[in-house]
């Protein structure tokens, strides 16, 4: 089952490598990974999407927690949460802009540029939403894709902060 883990990591040299290395060392897969500094910049927030049984994920979280540079870790999929991913997609030139806008509207899609050869769009949604959209875009030639990987946040009062 897919799990979205969120963690706060000290902004220190090699901290990210420790997290990534740990997944490999212990035989877990990273489906997607997103990282950027937050708040005062002294620490970063990581979102890792992975797959595993409940006990495997519990073990991953415990091992992550053991890393000295990890401040906190949470399994967002345990409860209500928001999960969102940003994708930039380059496709071949779009002729029918109106219907394209309609297709991407549910994903807050924007057409960033549409010139004589290519069209670049941006969409946000769950990973499944984006997968579905990409399937729908098959008739347009998809040239290049970049995805941020899942970003996650607890819903309501639950927080992952310092």
């Amino acid at each position: 089952m897919k799990r979205v883990l969120a963690m706060l990591v000290e902004n220190k040299p090699g901290a990210l490598a420790r997290v990534v290395g740990l997944f490999h060392q212990r035989g877990y897969n990273i489906e997607s990974l997103n990282v950027a500094p937050v708040h005062d910049g002294s620490y970063s927030r990581l979102t890792v999407a992975t797959r595993g049984t409940e006990s495997a994920v519990e073990q991953i979280m415990k091992q992550i927690n053991k890393l000295i540079d990890i401040i906190k870790v949470a399994d967002l999929t345990e409860g209500d949460h928001h999960e969102l991913e940003l994708a930039l997609i380059k496709i071949s030139k779009v002729v029918d802009l109106t219907s394209m806008k309609k297709i991407i509207k549910p994903l807050n899609g924007k057409i960033l540029k549409n010139d004589s050869t290519t069209c670049v769009i941006s969409v946000t949604g769950t990973s499944i939403d984006i997968n579905n959209l990409l399937r729908n875009l098959k008739k347009n030639k998809v040239i290049e894709i970049v995805r941020s990987g899942s970003l996650g946040l607890h819903e309501s009062n639950k927080t992952l902060t310092i």
């Binding site: 040299p13 090699g14 290395g21 519990e58 073990q59 091992q63 000295i68 540079d69 401040i71």
Partner: protein, 578 residues
Amino acid sequence: MKLSGGDMLMRALREEGVKFIFGYPGGAALHIYDAIFRQKKIEHILVRHEQGATHAADGYARATGKPGVVFVTSGPGATNAITGLATAFMDSIPLIVVSGQVASHLIGTDSFQETDMIGVSRPIVKHSYIVQRTEDIPSIINEAFHIATTGRPGPVVIDIPKDITAPENKFEYKKPSKVNLRSYQPKVHPHPGQIKKAAKAILSSERPVIYAGGGAIMGNASTQLKALNKILNVPVTNTLMGLGVYPATDKHFMGMLGMHGTYQANMAMHNADLILAIGARFDDRITNTPSKFAPDARIIHIDVDPASISKIINADIPIVGQVKESLNALIKEIKRSKIKIDSEAISKWNDQIKEWRRLHGLDHEMYLKKSKSKLIMPQEVVQQVYKITKGDAYVTSDVGQHQMFAAQYYHFDKPRRWINSGGLGTMGFGLPSAMGVKLAFPNKEVVCITGEGSIQMCIQELSTCLQYGLPVKIININNQALGMVRQWQDMNYSGRHAASTYEESLPDFVKLTEAYGHKAFKVTQRNKLGPTLEKAFALKDKLVFVDVYVDQSEHVYPMLVSPNGSMKDMWLSRGKKT
């Protein structure tokens, strides 16, 4: 006063109470070595190979409980320390490894003797630092010692580029304040609710077993463990890493458990209705097939590392905390509890264990008396060493059959006396770790029980022993083969001994030891074993190497049947299964 990075490093180590550094100099570490020269408080021990330095520091740490300190240079110096780091990491031993690095401006340019030490060592350290500013040295050292010694201990690497320790760059030495890391707050005290549950479960059990491991030794909880069983009077077993934490000569001690554990210890685990695991991690050399492990037992698991709990075997009552604090709380709760343990049931259980011990317990002495063989049995060597040293020596070992025989037949009554590489199983560990122990306790008997395979992996340290006057006793159980490999080949590969013998190439260990400036004896006959060992141990101020030729065909038993066996499935002797 302003200090250079090298002098700061030495001062910071002194403030941590460091007495010895085990190391080997080289280009990138030369500023640091010059700083060693400028001070008198800390003694540097020059080993002959960096692996020896890490094992020596490790042995020192295991015997004293204080972190061992290692200095190596960049590149090959650093990579040679890797095996020792992995060894310490697997057994949760506090080590501080300071590695020289090429100068900051050369990092990433494939410069001479450059290796990414932080990257190479990442999976086998508790934490690591690359020093980027000279002024940070005092606080990094302070933090490194804190991390290495608290929570679940482990090795810490500090990589220092050469320019950081340059003598001309001097800075004010700021004494670091108490370490307080927002990302690292190891738990000390157990949850009182869990302690209550545990006490209730123990007091209502009828077939309990205490299973204590290396964590109980690292957590200095031997006294508490003995106190707990003064009240409970239940059977106790120790892991390979835990030997000595509960006195082996106590009537409740069943011996080691697991792969080569005693019949009674493995049977007790399998048939228990409650297992109290203390600082032990249910590794694969203990549990055999996890799904068949102790089918009737409720599991209480005390460990300072939450990741060790329910990793292999699900714990019914997990307790996260330091072993000492947890046992103190448990003892208090048991004393306070209105429930009283069913002493009739416990006494019946203890009788059952006595019966198992009578049936198939380790009793090699009986066998030896009956044996007419002229060949020396390896077990007998350990038994003789035990007798001569009155069971009170520090014993280090290497890895293989001799290690198992030492664990089975040297009955440790005190913690920190049995020094071996349990988790990683590192051949070459025995001699250098014995050096570390001897430096810490120069007036104590230190014995390295080894084999002709293992000893050759770090034999160069005989030279270090001469330089620093370290009269350890090396007992080489020489079966002229890689015994444990050979045993597996006998049992699982129809006796095809692929690459486990040396033909005629073994060195003359007597000549070899003498060439290194020490004393040596060779024994091949049974009737000479006792007298020769007596003679060796009588030479108090000499390193003595006793090369004992033993029966090559001997196997280590009992041995768990694997794969797919449970703990009650054992080979008891050649061709005889439970």
